[in-house]
Subunit: 215 residues, 2 copies
């Protein structure tokens, strides 16, 4: 896995250390907390300049800030969110989007009972106005909190409207249809199936697959 994929996790652990008042940490202690290896951590941190000091450890605040800058979290990418159901509301109400580099500027739904209501300080727009909105705005990012079929139906409108960045809960495969877009998929089903597999293995270890513990 590339170091970039590991950065958000480092950032999260450093944030916890910061919150608990820890100011310095060795690669060994950090590795222990993260279930990682000290050499992996040193190698990763070397990739972007290396901030450790032999026998002295890493400066937590400094490292936290640097990783935040590499991730670009100081940016404020305007984003729209489509699908004001439970999942959409969880994202709107419970995630600290500005600290993750985003700011919601428009919400869309198809349900007439929801359109026109206020959620998280924004009035929900009718999805029928999506095409106009995309044309008139310079928003390039969408959070898709929709079922697969609905996402498929609006894929072309979004793409033609200049949307290039997708945070996608819908299981619709944008990257295959539009090779030039950037998509982060969240597959909750995959995560739960993996848990199911691990529970079964825990209860009834399978000899045929136990060789495949590697990772």
């Amino acid at each position: 896995m590339s170091v970039i994929r590991r950065l958000p996790r480092y950032y999260r652990f450093l944030q916890e250390l910061k919150n608990s008042g820890v100011t310095r940490i060795s690669s060994r202690d950090l590795a222990e907390r993260m279930g990682s290896s000290a050499s992996q951590i040193r190698q990763d941190f070397n990739c972007f300049g290396g901030f450790g000091q032999q026998g002295y450890g890493y400066d937590v605040d400094f490292l936290y800030d640097v990783i935040g800058k590499i991730l670009g979290l100081q940016e404020c990418h305007p984003a729209m969110l489509i699908g004001i159901g439970n999942l959409g509301r969880a994202v709107i109400n419970h995630m600290s989007l500005p600290s993750l580099g985003f700011s919601l500027v428009a919400l869309f739904d198809i349900d007439p009972d929801v359109v026109g209501t206020e959620v998280g300080g924004l009035v929900v727009r009718d999805v029928a106005t999506l095409e106009d909105f995309c044309r008139d705005s310079d928003v390039e990012t969408v959070f898709l909190c929709l079922p697969r079929e609905s996402a498929a139906q609006m894929a072309d409108v979004l793409y033609k409207g200049g949307i290039r960045y997708f945070w996608n809960f819908s299981h619709y495969d944008f990257a295959t249809r539009y090779p030039d877009v950037i998509v982060e998929n969240v597959h909750l089903n995959d995560s739960l199936m993996t848990l199911c597999y691990r529970i079964n293995e825990d209860k009834h270890p399978s000899p045929s697959l136990s060789a495949d513990k590697g990772e």
Copy 2:
């Protein structure tokens, strides 16, 4: 990454093929759809017996069933869910849990306005009764749709009550505190930070990190 981590994804793509009426597929065609390689697919499928036939491809229905069985999705692990907010409701109302190996048997919340109401066919219990419930039931799986602090507060009650399997949205680190539990974490923040990084890289490619495209 171990083959087990890839199984849910195979399962998802095979399900889509099934739904579109495809009955046979070559490793090459499947690889193209999945953005994977044919040799990786053949190697993975060999791990659990190999069902392909040279020049003839894989039987989609058969492979779908076999992978479902390896994942153990025919099981029905009783699970409780704590936190009947937007996220909890999204899981209860919009995920097809029985087809993923689970069945919800109890819901808990702390909010007096929510306790006693019916959600997804179950009456929400008071989290104050959690300890009794754990003692009297043989449920071992919990879905935690809670903020980190709330999860931390009830960690001991859950562990002492015999809960060993966690589907965890809370960012609380159960695995470090209780090394014998099995946890699947869903880190929505990490996913969004990764999207932020990829957007920044797309807009302003950074020479210093572009060497790290590897995976």
